[in-house]
Symmetry: C2
């Protein structure tokens, strides 16, 4: 790969590297890229895109490869652009409460740096210890705190991005308001690298909440936990998180990383409040009352360490599940909040009928449930049955007014199902937009629109 | 206008109607439409679009015509679609905190209905007593409360809209999270009717805050008021509004609708806090301290009536200004918050140098200032000078990292300036998108992209 466009760029065609960068956290089929490049700055990103254009290669941008739908998995004839060398915080502007970063910065590091200054970057995907802000923007990543604080989209002020012809564009702005032209910024957010590759991102930050309170509530009845969620919100309390785990998810954690959670319950809720101490104390009391009235048993995490232990447990569910069955088909459906009890009941019924384990957990407060259909990929019959179940779950979800993806995106694995949710005309418009940004189709091909 | 497509649709070609629907609140040049139609439902909207297609007419959608940039002003060979007959609330879902409306519903009515149920729809443009939600969506309307609660964009969950070929599309969804395909919803929001016409809108609502506290602060020095804004936010207090008026704006109000505001001050801030009573009391004390330290004099509105009087005064500025000079060139620049003192000083300097009165007021908390250059349109020299000043103000604003429109949009009046802010490549992408939605260019032609 000798070419003046590549001069000074760290790039590898070693088989070991190609293999390491050929998969992500999803079960998407992997292909080997032609090369992996680690650009150090925007200029190198642009030169790589130009090189790809000249050599009929496509570009696969990659954050940390933690995606659940295969959006960073390579296809044939591509270069993977890994952002590991672009992870600087370029500017913190506390007066205007913004921070400018390179796309490769790890979410958790950004959070920690902001906390140190007394500020708060809310989006907290479960993979936050390694996932990158660039990847978060590409997938519009969520996380538990989305319930109160919204998803990544709500924190993106300005994106500098490279498009397919190697030109740089800037979308959004450094002001909180702006009403000038079409909203290209929101179009890029969640487009999974199929329209542009971000090279610099300006994010909004908030003042750090004064205090946090974490409650753990155990339920003997799964439906009661769903009703509790609805009742808490109806009481006009918006916790910053309201996480749900079913019995199987609790079992998986306790087998993998014992935390002392009880194994004789049907479900638990992990509820976190933040704000002024007096305010959240009042809200916590009200939540405890609501849960008690539904047979729930609530305890308050005593200190930061106890809280952190609970969250570590919550974040370990996904890896823990791999210990139960070789393959989990991991979905993240979302339904209107009041439909949570209904969908939980339906999932239980399907699992009983098909005798395939379905493990559910997730951000029940905003209706977003991670549904894991546990199968063995090598058992062809079981694996096929797993996918039938997924399709059935999608059908029920859509019938309830929900969506087939709350926060993981479409990538490769869900691309075959997108037309269950998005109608023909809307898909046609999306394809038209793709053609405007990337007429030759070199930007992360095969993702979202298939 | 006999055509089976129009059967049953209320439509007029009377000159009186054509004239009434030929202008809006801006100074955009008006043209007479061919007809004005008042569709009663989505089907009638679709049929009108089909009729327009068959007869080489364009479509100008219109809410209440309160736009400040001419987005609803007709051009030649068009039909105006007025949404006065589509103003129903179709569904209120308190469990999921959403409300579904027709586009013609008046903002204030929606707010009142939600308050009655204990809920809160925050966006509050100054014209809220008459402006419509459809128009708010088209322009991504803001308002004072945007400081804490964001603009219209932040409350739109789902839009059903008709596009240029008469097909209906649905964008967004009824769940709080969704990561499926490109974000067409945000593309429509703020597109000023140039991409699609909304026929049904699902909005997010919030629990009504427990209490509100309103503070009025007088400053003898204009720069001090700007610094106060920055210091309050730096103290990590986010009031729901932080409105600014300069001396001329106060004078204009007192001449038009006397409220008892002092005339010997340089500027005032109207600050409103909401939330739990104990919390906002603490925040108010801190704000009073900050303002005092800068020479500001603060008072608290004693009751709802006093508060409402202050807000009526604030909302009357815009009409009041018409009594000062026959023409106001009304802009709504926005700068990063910490640049407010700087821009205020610059505006004062320009006014002194050119001897043209510049009156400033607006949402200083988020950096959004309504700048009114007071001229007489019939005095050609003065009017031309007014536009030179506007261009100069835009230049300074952009140099400070700001934007030429915070919330009014581009419409017709600012279309000639859009390329001062949006670069060629981005404009090219926007034009490409316009072509995908509306290949024949019949949707609100001449707006935004000229």
């Amino acid at each position: 790969m000798k070419n003046s466009l590549l001069s000074g760029i760290q790039i590898s065609t070693d088989k070991e590297d190609l293999i390491c960068y050929s998969f992500d956290a999803s079960i998407a089929e992997s292909a080997l890229p032609e090369a992996v490049a680690w650009p150090k700055n925007t200029n190198e990103v642009i030169r790589l895109i130009k090189y790809a254009n000249e050599n009929n290669l496509s570009i696969i941008p990659r954050g940390a490869g933690t995606g659940m739908a295969g959006a960073s998995v390579p296809s044939a004839n591509c270069i993977v652009l890994s952002f590991e060398k672009m992870r600087k915080i370029l500017d913190v502007d506390t007066k205007n409460m913004t921070v400018v970063v390179e796309p490769g910065i790890v979410n958790r590091r950004l959070q920690k740096e902001m906390e140190y200054l007394g500020y708060f970057y809310p989006p907290d995907p479960a993979s936050m210890n390694i996932c990158t802000i660039g990847g978060n923007v590409a997938t519009n990543a969520g996380g538990p705190r989305a319930l109160k604080y919204g998803v990544t989209r709500n924190y993106i002020m300005e994106i500098e991005a490279a498009i397919a012809d190697g030109k740089l564009i800037t979308t959004g702005g450094r002001t909180y308001k702006k009403a000038v032209g079409y909203d290209l910024r929101n179009l890029l957010i969640g487009s999974e690298g199929t329209l542009a590759i971000s090279t610099k991102i300006c994010l909004k930050i908030l003042p750090l909440p004064e205090d946090i309170m974490t409650l753990l509530v155990f339920f003997k009845n799964i439906e009661a936990s769903g009703i509790a969620i609805s009742k808490i919100i109806s009481a006009k309390i918006i916790p910053r998180t309201m996480e749900f785990m079913d019995r199987f998810a609790i079992e998986a954690i306790e087998n993998y990383k014992p935390t002392g959670l009880p194994l004789d319950i049907a479900a638990l809720l992990l509820i976190e409040l933040d704000g002024y101490p007096a305010t959240i104390k009042k809200e916590a009391e009200r939540i405890v009352d609501i849960c008690h009235s539904l047979g729930g048993e609530a305890t308050v995490a005593e200190d930061d360490m106890a809280r952190e232990r609970l969250w570590e447990a919550r974040r370990s569910i996904s890896p823990a599940l791999y210990h139960i069955k070789p393959t989990k088909i991991n979905e993240d459906i979302v339904v209107p909040r009041d439909k949570i009890p209904l969908i939980l009941t339906e999932l239980q019924r399907i699992s009983e009928e098909t005798r395939i384990k379905i493990i559910s957990f997730g951000h029940a407060g905003d209706g977003n449930i991670h549904v894991n259909v546990m199968v063995d990929r090598d058992n062809k019959e079981e694996y096929a049955k797993g996918w039938e179940i997924i399709k059935k779950i999608f059908e029920i979800t859509l019938k309830l007014g929900g969506s087939i993806s709350g926060e993981h995106g479409i990538g490769i694995t869900k691309a075959p199902y997108i037309n269950m949710e998005i109608k023909e005309k809307e898909l046609e418009l999306m394809k038209g937009i793709k053609g405007i940004f990337d007429p030759r189709g070199i930007m992360n091909p095969g993702k979202i629109l298939g």
